[in-house]
Symmetry: C2
Subunit: 368 residues, 2 copies
């Protein structure tokens, strides 16, 4: 496996990427100091087999491992499930030297990570992402948390994992649509930070879509490397640097919040959002039309949407979209801040896009 | 007011101690960067007047301050009250630049601090302790959290305040018994770290008991200075250094857990615990009998118990005490670790006290 260091001082950790050999995970955990006393594996009920395989690979006596399944889906990021996990941690006698192992996608990572952040004032946890999206994005960076019924991610902590274990083999059973959704964030890294990587994606699109091991390893490795760099520069989201990771997300979150949950996957909404942000940047003559075309062609090659499909147009009027975008957490003083590209490989925060221009961009995506 | 720096790198903060002049708190908050957008004052219902006075002193427009009262008592450190606070934070629209102001004793500080630690992945909070115990102990050090019905403080985070505001005037209405309870932790600092401070306490006991402003300011200043030093050396409780703050607490927690809540105040249980730990140290010939006498005489002069009173003896048999002590969080591998004094001003962690000797110490305190 390949490894990437995320340099965060005393909170530094390693991301392992590739096809894991038997015994390798246990070996990595064996080097933890102090040695973990017990492990509690919190997993998405849909990946039970992967969770059981992972539990065996931890290298613990069976009596020191407890398995807890959580239903798939955003609804599990709730106070009720958090409470359920806390009660299980108590019942299983998990002390400060215990460890939580999160097996699943972003929902499980966020929920289990927050349980780790808040148990005994913080215990260690391992991310074992089983979706491409989680491997390239949510498992790296230390954001953990749950939702309130009225607002997503308002409850949470920054809490870094002790290890991220991105085993490509765990992607074998991932549904095609979910796999493609993960590629939206991958394309995003190319646009915001790395033109070479963008070119690599263009040149290896077929191998990536075929889930070729070496192509996937490279895609995940470079994505994690880019994300880790940004996170290291702005661990607590205080300098503004981390905001570039939100390219396409202000539009994307508005799309997600206005359509019923599950209509669009996160990556699909972000893909449309990148098309919108790119279009807005082109309208402002901040980047050329041909770069926008290049971005959208790659997204489409990966099977991702770049316009608002007929079925959801009635929810996504320009007025509703703008209203939803104004509610975004990033707009702390009620101003619309957007991340827009200057060129492939570079973006910046822009606050001078007029509401009128944003409206035109949205309307353009409705008319396509 | 006097001020003490707690040097924790980017999480450093200042403790202000003394009689605050009008406008001083607003001035201190005025220097925060970025300026807080809104304040939510979470207060113990018993100190409503102090909370209202504090709210006015924040220097915010009235529309930007929200007041939330919480009932007095350990029962408020619950998931239900945490959820109640989260919902209020949402309803009042507290964003990442918002600030929580905790007005009350340890319960309020722990609960409100944990709400701050977990809102929007962590917002700033100010401690305005209104008990001596909170001023010298719980408001400093960044421990926040709540209880599960079966276990105290198992849910929580390390989250440092942005400011601690120890206004001596807020102690004027504190009941005598609670005031004396706070002095147990003060005596503890002398025993574990500072023989000069212990001597100061002996020489100024009358002024302290009379709540003389300059004596109280000195007591709180030196206590905070000592605690801040230990916290700075071991912010996350990982090096073992912070454990010295638990002198008297392994016995004390067992006493608290075996008597009905409210029978003894925390400081009273700790006072008996220090007498027990001191007695054990003397039995092991680790420190002289006259030092134990000196410690206990000061505790008694402050109106604190140094034996197990008749009314609670039936709950505190040696067997029950030892069983409860074995459950203490500090004993991660099932071993009894105790903090025992070598001399006044110095303690160390000891793991060689036999169960038999611990039993004798407890029995001695039952027989007194």
């Amino acid at each position: 496996m390949q490894s990437i260091d995320v340099p965060l001082g005393p909170r530094s950790y390693v991301i392992h990427i590739g096809n894991a050999a038997p015994g390798q995970l246990g070996l990595a955990i064996g080097s933890f100091s102090p040695p973990p006393s017990k492990a509690i594996v919190i997993y998405d009920a849909e990946v039970k087999l992967i969770a059981e395989k992972t539990a065996k690979e931890l290298g613990f006596e069976p009596a020191k491992v407890c398995m807890i399944d959580v239903p798939s889906g955003e609804e599990s990021k709730s106070i009720r499930y958090l409470e359920y996990l806390w009660k299980n941690l108590l019942q299983f006698g998990v002390d400060r030297k215990g460890i939580i192992v999160a097996v699943g996608g972003g929902v499980i990572g966020d929920l289990a990570g927050f349980a780790a952040a808040t148990w005994n004032r913080g215990i260690r946890f391992i991310q074992v992402p089983t979706t491409l999206l989680a491997m390239v994005d949510s498992s790296v960076g230390g954001k953990t948390g749950i939702n309130l019924p009225e607002a997503k991610n308002v409850i949470g902590s920054f809490w870094q994992p002790s290890l991220v274990w991105a085993d490509i083999a765990n992607l074998a059973t991932l549904p095609t649509r979910e796999f493609r959704s993960g590629l939206a964030e991958v394309v995003k890294y190319g646009i915001i930070l790395d033109a070479d990587f963008f070119e690599y994606l263009e040149n290896h699109a077929d191998a990536i879509l075929a889930r070729d091991t070496s192509a996937l390893t490279e895609v995940i490795r470079r994505s994690c490397l880019l994300k880790a760099r940004v996170v290291a520069e702005d661990e607590w989201e205080t300098t503004g640097r981390r905001a570039i990771l939100n390219y396409g997300h202000t539009f994307g979150h508005a799309i997600e919040s206005l359509t019923e949950y599950g209509t669009l996957l996160h990556g699909e909404a972000v893909s449309i959002g990148m098309s919108m942000a790119g279009h807005l940047a082109a309208s402002l003559q901040r980047w050329p039309d041909h770069s926008l075309d290049q971005q959208n062609q790659l997204l489409e090659r990966f099977g991702l949407p770049t316009r608002i499909m007929a079925g959801i147009q009635k929810h996504l009027t320009a007025d509703r979209m703008i209203q939803a975008m104004m509610h975004d957490k990033k707009n702390t003083y009620g101003k619309l801040n957007l991340i827009l590209p200057n060129r492939i490989g570079e973006v910046q925060t822009v606050s001078d896009a007029t509401i009128d221009l944003v409206r035109k961009t949205i309307s353009h995506h409705l008319a396509l």
